[in-house]
């Protein structure tokens, strides 16, 4: 039974690349398949970009989990941005308040085994993603 956590800042586009790389290393480290690695890295990339573009930057805790009965990676993204007033609407495909495709949140959820989102208008958003073996 073991977990190891790495916390990274998300303040620039280069940080988003770094998040992808660390998620990849952790996912490979716990033995996720190539497809599962690709899914969680892609989901992480979507949410990291949201944290930067909509949350005004923040951080992510990337955790590799090896404890019965679960093995995988869990990511917790936090920002202190404006928050999401209507989460249901934000989760819907093709909804965007920015210039993106509006696939980020809903798409990321489909790529994970666990997904949760908490947001408070005016104080920020926390999103948890996990992919288990």
């Amino acid at each position: 039974m073991s977990t190891s956590t790495e916390t990274l800042p998300i303040k620039s586009a280069e940080d988003v690349v770094r998040v992808r790389q660390v998620v990849r290393t952790k996912a490979a480290g716990v033995g996720l398949s190539i497809v599962d690695q690709t899914k969680i890295i892609t989901a992480a990339s979507e949410i990291a970009r949201n944290t930067l573009d909509y949350g005004g930057g923040g951080e992510v805790a990337i955790e590799s989990v090896k404890e019965q009965p679960r093995t995988g990676v869990r990511l917790i993204f936090r920002d202190n941005g404006p928050g999401i007033p209507d989460i249901e609407q934000a989760m819907r495909d093709n909804f965007t308040t920015g210039s993106g495709l509006g696939l980020g949140l809903g798409g990321a959820k489909r790529l994970c085994t666990d997904f949760s989102i908490q947001s408070k208008v005016g104080s920020g958003t926390t999103i948890m993603l996990a992919r288990w073996k």
Binding site: V17, I34, R49
Partner: protein
């Protein structure tokens, strides 16, 4: 800022993406490719993504944009070398690449560009 190199090969432009691109680098590639297409009057753009471990919605949008812009500039875009795991992930993400043609590898991609350009040239002649 770093740039992704664009190679001219006959009437085509070749791009091999070898690094994990941050968003501004991907935007710069889109701009550079469009400028080169006009400058070289190229008929085809081949983008090799075999080194890419992921294609997220942003990168997908860039590929779509490149294909749309190339089409307006009378060039065909073919993306080659997509990894199977990337293809599976794109479908689940919900990302479609409507304007982007794909081929398994560079050789097939070049064949696809050749045959598409030749077919267009032939139909242009027919119209005359």
């Amino acid at each position: 800022m770093d740039r992704i190199p664009i190679l001219k090969f006959g009437d085509c432009l070749l791009v091999t993406i070898q690094v994990d691109m941050h968003d501004q680098l991907a935007m710069a590639l889109q701009d550079d490719l469009t400028a080169r297409l006009v400058k070289e009057r190229s008929r085809g753009v081949l983008i090799d993504i075999s080194a890419l471990e992921i294609v997220d919605s942003f990168m997908g949008r860039i590929l779509n944009n490149i294909a749309s812009m190339a089409k307006i500039l009378d060039a065909v875009t073919v993306v080659v070398g997509m990894r199977p795991a990337v293809a599976i992930t794109l479908v689940e993400l919900g990302l479609e690449l409507p304007g982007v043609r794909t081929a398994l590898n560079v050789e097939r991609g070049m064949d696809l560009i050749r045959s598409t350009v030749d077919a267009e040239t032939a139909s242009d002649v027919d119209l005359d």
